[in-house]
């Protein structure tokens, strides 16, 4: 009888190991493909508006705006109604897309060198890169998770996490006026050009 639980443990470990072996290249390929698509768009886009429009569909299938918004708001998310959650995700998504596009100048594109990925847990992969853009080098780490396929859930530039940065900002708003204050702040920011 004792051998059976041992077998089970072995099987769990084996499946964990095989999921690692399969997941990391999958996540890497997904990231390289998505980033490649964005860089190609940046190469051909005539201006920032065209860039935003062309990049949006790629980002929508690459980034998990759900996970990003939820974690940027923090535990207060439970006090949002489903409608408020949808609205917050939509507004935050627009903000993220704008932040991302603002980092590009049409006609200039980054050179990205991918480094060895790590796997903090069975459905998460972190891929560090060195990005050379406009003559400067940046350490950029992409955090990916398996949510209906691989999705980017955070981008860490020189140690600064995008989601953590928004979390500190939303915390202040939520403490002052709950979900409504967060939504109003988001609306204000989205409407500011």
């Amino acid at each position: 009888m004792k051998t059976r639980p041992a077998l089970l443990v072995l099987a769990i470990l084996a499946s964990a190991a095989s999921s690692f072996a399969a997941s990391v290249p999958d996540a890497e390929n997904f990231l390289k493909k998505s980033v490649g698509e964005v860089v190609n768009i940046a190469k051909s886009a005539p201006n920032s508006n065209a860039l935003t429009e062309s990049v949006r569909p790629v980002l929508l299938k690459t980034i998990s705006f759900d996970a990003m918004t939820r974690r940027a708001v923090g535990p207060g998310w439970r006090q949002f109604t489903p409608d408020q959650q949808r609205e917050a995700t939509r507004l935050f998504g627009s903000l993220i897309i704008r932040t991302y596009v603002a980092k590009f100048t049409p006609g200039e594109w980054p050179e990205i060198a991918y480094k060895a990925a790590t796997m903090p847990s069975h459905d998460r992969v972190e891929i560090p890169t060195t990005t050379l853009y406009k003559g400067s080098k940046y350490n950029v780490t992409y955090r990916l998770e398996e949510i209906e396929g691989w999705r980017i859930t955070d981008v860490v530039i020189e140690g600064v996490s995008l989601v953590a940065n928004y979390r500190t900002q939303f915390d202040g708003e939520f403490k002052q006026g709950g979900a409504d204050a967060v939504l109003n702040a988001l609306k204000r920011s989205v409407s500011t050009p």
């Binding site: 099987a11 690692f20 939820r70 974690r71 980092k103 060895a116 003559g135 140690g159 989601v163």
Partner: protein
């Protein structure tokens, strides 16, 4: 320290004599794609070639010691931690491993589901800093914003307009190279002697092969391409001195008390500061450091724009970005 000086002297002597006496195996070629061994026969570089001949002992520290380690695989085999098995309901009759695998998958799914609920607090451990003078800091932040917007941005735009991007990069490289003593001393104060050694090699390669630091030739040499930077604030952090409170300095922007003190140290260690005290007239100093000021304003404006656009509260966004960045720099 003695080791660094001996390398420095040996290299300088080596450079002086390399033309006549050094055998070819002591010479490497720094090409655009990295290092190449020098061919047996000394040949002239073709016209317009970007390749540079350099001493092997400077660019390949490992060449002097043990043979180079085998290259790391791009994706090293993952280390799977043998985590203790989760509390599993005892399977009634597990006949084969296929069924066991099925169980494993169910367990993983359950884990994901339970995590989805508590992942809201995923970012509760973000680096933070005490900000007791927040109202004063917000005032200074607002003043700085006006200054950046109405004075520095036009300067930065003009600078971008006047100088093409390669020239701006060259200016940045020269000043970055000249700040070598700041990094050298701080590496040494952090007991990072290997980094101090690499930093010295980088300085020599860029000063000699990179024509006074205009070109960052060291980027083509894998061992010298990513030497972590060092400053006095970082040294204090390694010595265990906490950040202290957050302060927003007029014009200069966000700092912690520790980094403000550290900044004074960097200023003292920067050779460009010595110019001011070395008897050079005001105009000459300005001519030398003027482009650096413009370059620094340009970099600062780009950074400031990236940190304050599309945010909810620019003050909090900059404070959080600053402290996360400094935490990461101190952990290197």
């Amino acid at each position: 320290m003695r080791k660094i000086f001996s390398i420095l002297i040996a290299t300088v002597l080596g450079i002086a004599t390399s033309g006549a006496a050094a055998p070819d195996r002591e010479i490497v070629i720094i090409t655009k794609d990295g290092l190449k061994a020098s061919p047996g026969k000394r040949e002239k570089n073709p016209k317009n070639s970007h390749d540079t001949l350099f001493l092997r002992s400077v660019v390949e520290p490992s060449a002097q010691k043990a043979p180079a380690k085998p290259a790391k695989p791009v994706n090293p085999a993952p280390k799977v931690k043998p985590t203790p098995a989760p509390p599993v309901q005892k399977p009634l009759k597990t006949k084969n491993t296929a069924i066991a695998k099925e169980h494993a998958i169910t367990i993983q799914k359950k884990k994901t589901a339970s995590r989805a609920e508590d992942d809201l607090d995923e970012y509760s451990h973000i680096a933070t800093i005490a900000d007791p003078a927040e109202s004063v800091n917000r005032g200074t932040f607002w003043l700085n914003h006006q200054l950046y917007h109405y004075l520095l941005r036009p300067v930065s735009k003009a600078y971008e307009f006047i100088l093409p991007s390669p020239a701006r990069t060259a200016i940045h490289n020269v000043f970055d190279n000249a700040e070598y003593p700041v990094r050298l001393v701080n590496h040494a104060l952090q007991f990072q002697f290997k980094r101090a050694d690499l930093e010295t090699r980088k300085f020599l390669v860029n000063s000699v092969a990179g024509v006074g630091g205009i070109f960052r030739v060291s980027d083509r040499i894998p061992e010298l391409a990513a030497v972590p930077s060092a400053d006095t604030g970082q040294t204090f952090a390694k010595w265990g001195i906490g950040h202290g409170a957050y302060v927003v300095l007029p014009v200069l922007g966000p700092r912690s008390v520790r980094d403000t003190v550290g900044m004074a140290g960097d200023y003292a260690l920067n050779p460009l500061t010595w110019l001011t005290y070395g008897g050079l007239g005001g105009a000459a100093t300005l001519a030398i450091s003027g482009p650096n000021a413009a370059q620094s304003i340009n970099n600062r404006m780009n950074l400031y724009d990236a940190a304050t656009r599309n945010v909810i509260d620019p003050y909090v966004a900059v404070r959080s970005g600053y402290i996360q960045y400094r935490e990461q720099a101190a952990s290197k």
